[in-house]
């Protein structure tokens, strides 16, 4: 019995007793069942297993603490109306916001944060982590940490641009289709059908092989692939708004289409569109990363998470986790964005907690 094991169980039992004393049903059940599970786990896996549980619990608690603090921080610095909304955000959403904020800082200030240059060779290939290189070196001896930081700028920036482009095209076309209706709506709808019927990855590969793997081609190709989905959603949302009497009143007043879209329809469809933006961003992000993984996306030596996974993939066979780090960066951002989107969808759907 090491000191660690004794502290571990002592702490668990003390906290579950405290929870039971203050009638905290949920926490008590969690803590006490964890204690019971730990008995078995300790016998089977020894102190190592318990240590793993302790570290995992610590990380979750750390994330929860950060999320809570970040939410309170946002509540304090934002305006009255906004802070009222943020107060209702669940911890998952504020965790998501915190992660997005961190990525944004990393991306924007990459040159100042990263200790080395993006394509600077500083050591031997696959050098292990040391005091200089937090995460070791890649297959050419470049600092992995610096490349992750630059990757945030390149990959996320690219995905963001492509999503914005897809949204501008799709949302504008959708609003116009819903407002104009008739043959105009039909034509746009069929065009969207045609684009959607082509497998997205094949379409992107085709475009990139024809026009070459330049950043602008990637952005345009991805935007074209995702615009029809945005178009469909916008048209459906706006379709529910155009049948309202206030639209009829505005039409009878003699208002032009552009005014109808801007002042009457758009304010009533922003909530689902913003949520959709977050969702699409994840898909675009994964597609861009996938293209890079296939070698057709962002070209070397530019740092990019997708291609970093591919370039270091061989290391997996040696039991190294280096290639998983950029993959984890992608996963974390996707999860974070989804957390925030979930909260926004919850709000816009008007569901209230029972």
């Amino acid at each position: 019995m090491s000191v660690f094991v004794i502290t571990y169980f002592g702490l668990l039992i003390a906290t579950s007793c405290a929870a039971a004393y203050w009638n905290q049903r949920g926490p008590f059940l969690t803590l006490f069942s964890l204690t019971l599970v730990s008995f078995v786990l300790g016998i089977v896996g020894g102190a190592g297993a318990l240590r793993f549980v302790a570290i995992a619990a610590g990380m979750i608690a750390f994330a929860a603490g950060i999320s809570y603090a970040f939410r309170e921080f946002l509540v304090l610095i934002t305006s009255h109306n906004l802070s009222k909304e943020i107060k209702t955000a669940p911890l998952t959403a504020s965790f998501g916001m915190f992660v997005i904020f961190t990525y944004a800082v990393a991306g924007i200030f990459a040159p100042w944060i990263a200790p080395y240059g993006e394509s600077e060779v500083i050591s031997s290939a696959f050098a292990p982590a040391d005091e200089n290189m937090l995460l070791g070196a890649d297959q050419l001896g470049r600092d992995m940490f610096s490349r992750i930081i630059y990757g945030a700028r390149n990959t996320v920036g690219l995905a963001l641009l492509a999503t914005v482009a897809a949204f501008l095209m799709g949302a504008f076309a959708g609003l116009l289709a819903a407002t104009k209706g008739g043959w105009f709506d039909q034509v746009l709808g069929r065009i969207a059908d045609i684009i959607m019927s082509i497998p997205s990855l094949i379409f992107a590969l085709l475009m990139l092989s024809i026009f070459g793997p330049q950043v602008i081609v990637i952005i345009v190709a991805v935007a074209i692939i995702y615009a029809p989905r945005v178009f469909r959603l916008t048209r459906a949302v706006a379709g529910n708004v155009v049948v309202m009497d206030y639209i009829e009143a505005a039409k009878l007043r003699g208002e032009k289409t552009w005014y109808l879209i801007r002042r009457e329809i758009l304010p009533n469809s922003t909530a689902p569109l913003i949520a959709e933006f977050g969702l699409e961003f994840c898909f675009v992000f994964l597609l861009v990363a996938g293209l890079s993984f296939l070698g057709l996306g962002v070209q070397p030596p530019t740092a990019d998470w997708g291609s970093m996974v591919r370039e270091n993939a061989t290391l997996i066979s040696f039991g190294e986790i280096t290639p998983l780090i950029p993959a984890a960066a992608i996963a974390l951002l996707t999860v974070a964005v989804n957390f925030v989107v979930d909260w926004m969808l919850f709000r816009s759907s008007g569901l209230k907690e029972q």
């Binding site: 206030y246 009829e248 009878l252 007043r253 009533n268």
Partner: protein
């Protein structure tokens, strides 16, 4: 009428219910007592927000989402519902207490046949086998005078009319022969002609099975036909309770008297000016929607400056379509609309800005007629800005003037959004938006039918005052003849897309009538508690059962 010596079925004592506003709990029901005997029908009346439906739900031991029962007791046949467990309460619902909602169309599941929904409760409680339950349903359909009782249950909800659906729902509530049925405004969404059949059917079946009922409505004339006792509610408090006859003949409280007096508003009738060109002249208009269904057939009538023409008829008679033709939303397939003697282009797209400005529209549902994301100031200000080019301080002054005109305090409403307002206030904003264009002609499409009687009367008085001040012409679309009586100068009666009769109001309300006008007029509920009985006798009961299905 129920025997008052029967045992007590439902006893509510000092009931308090609170609702959550998002920040705190505020009282909705502030201590209401209610005693209902077996086989007795009690009418609950009051404006919206009075807590009628909340009490109705509480009688089933149910508090809607965001509300909680915070005090008092609800005793149903010796069982205390406030302390009973959820499963005990659930065992009562559908079996011993049933509920009939306002909108049958929204309450039936559109994906299942009517009879399958009907038999759900008896099968769930294992009272009957499926075939027995179906036969029982057919019998109930027959008692409720639904056409083809053997067959109608096997249709889907959208395949039967609104009045039939409401009767099918009453039959469904009867499926387990409950002791108590709660009717929550069951006829509010129906036409007067359809309403009669539903009322008669409900009254008969409640009588036959000796079921107790709570009848919730805001229509006094309706409750007078249905209830043994009437309880008047105001803002979650009881105003008074008395047997129906006594309540009608001798109300004690001022508030009750004011409710009774609502229908008294009547303005003097104006006569048609001689040798004047009509402001709007609808001439031999035919119209059809895509698909070729003809909805208007040779419709002609004139509207003169400063006058109100009421267009009446049940739903589907083409009233609103006529309005769409006049505004140019639906170009007619034949005929034309003249404005001051000049033909108007058929489609609104071809009309000039000034032609559009001259005729404005006020909608039935203020909720969908005002953009919820736009400030009141911008809603009212936009037409003024659009037509007159007002900007800045001049625009603000104009908006203030308009808000004054509709009797709302400008500084209070200027920066608010429509969802923050009450139904009556929203309708006033709708009126202000129409006035902002400085029109000469306004189409009012059922503007008061979504409102409480007191509020509706306020709107009618406002419209009347505005007409006198601004010399407006109104085309007043309605199915409520009480409204027609109070505000119209001329009446146009429509049925199946045709004008069946038209003329000045005083002539129209005096016999002899066209048979359809007669049906409409006699279907308007009156305060006399024996009105329905007398009417049914006059018409012959069977005749009534069929007239809705024509």
């Amino acid at each position: 009428m129920a025997d008052k010596k029967k045992s007590v079925l439902l006893e509510i004592k000092d009931l308090k219910i609170e609702g959550y506003t998002g920040e705190e709990w505020v009282p909705i029901i502030k201590g209401v007592d209610l005693t209902l005997h077996k086989g007795e029908v009690m009418g609950l009346i009051g404006e919206s927000g009075a807590g009628k439906s909340t009490i109705g739900a509480a009688a089933m031991g149910y508090a809607r989402d965001g509300t909680r029962i915070s005090g008092g007791s609800i005793e149903f046949d010796g069982m205390e519902l406030t302390t009973a467990s959820e499963s005990e309460r659930r065992a009562l619902r559908g079996k011993r207490i049933a509920y009939v909602a306002q909108s049958a169309a929204a309450s039936f599941n559109p994906a299942h046949k009517i009879i399958d929904q009907h038999t759900e409760a008896p099968l769930h409680y294992r009272i009957q086998k499926r075939l027995e339950a179906q036969e029982d349903a057919m019998e109930l359909y027959e008692r409720l005078r639904l056409p083809n009782p053997k067959e109608i249950g096997f249709r889907y909800p959208h395949q039967v009319s609104g009045g039939q659906l409401q009767r099918a729902m009453t039959a469904m509530a009867m499926a387990c022969r409950p002791d108590l049925i709660i009717f929550d405004e069951p006829t509010t969404a129906l036409d007067v002609t359809t309403q009669i059949e539903v009322l008669a059917a409900i009254r008969d079946i409640v009588d036959q099975f000796d079921t107790a009922a709570i009848y919730i409505t805001h229509d006094l004339a309706v409750v007078a036909q249905m209830a043994d006792t009437i309880k008047v509610l105001l803002k979650g408090d009881e105003v008074e309770e008395a047997p129906t006859e006594e309540m009608l003949s001798n109300p004690k409280e001022d508030y009750t008297k004011s409710l009774w007096a609502v229908r008294s508003f009547q303005r003097p009738q104006k006569a048609r000016p001689k040798d004047a060109t009509p402001l709007i002249s609808v001439q031999n208009v035919d119209a059809a929607y895509t698909g070729g269904v003809k909805v208007l057939d040779d419709v002609s009538f004139d509207i003169y400056e400063g006058m109100t023409v009421a267009v009446v008829g049940e739903s589907g008679s083409g009233k609103s379509t006529t309005a769409r033709v006049i505004t140019g939303l639906l170009p007619p397939s034949n005929g034309q609309v003249l404005f001051k003697g000049e033909p108007l282009p058929a489609s609104y797209l071809d009309r000039s800005k000034d032609q559009l400005r001259q005729s404005q529209m006020i909608y039935q549902m203020a909720d969908t007629a005002l953009n919820p994301k736009v400030r009141i100031a911008d809603i009212i200000g936009r037409p003024a800005q659009f037509y007159s080019g007002l900007e800045g301080a001049a625009l603000k002054a104009r908006v203030d003037e308009l808000l004054d005109l509709i009797e709302l305090e400008p500084s209070q409403y200027y920066n608010r959004y429509p969802p923050e307002l009450s139904g009556g206030q929203k309708q006033r904003i709708g009126i202000a938006r129409a006035l902002a264009a400085e029109p000469t002609f306004i189409i009012c499409d059922e503007v008061t039918s979504a409102l409480d009687q007191l509020v509706a009367e306020g709107i009618l008085r406002l419209l009347d005052r505005l007409q006198n001040e601004l010399n407006l012409a109104y085309m007043f679309i309605t199915h409520d003849l009480a409204t027609v009586r109070s505000i119209a100068d001329e009446v146009v009666v429509m049925q199946h897309g045709k004008v069946v009769e038209q003329g000045p109001k005083d002539v129209m309300f005096k016999p002899p009538h066209h048979p359809y006008t007669d049906l409409l007029l006699s279907s308007v509920p009156e305060m006399d508690p024996n009105w329905l009985t007398t009417l049914l006798e006059e018409r012959g009961v069977d005749n009534v059962g069929e007239s809705a299905d024509v």
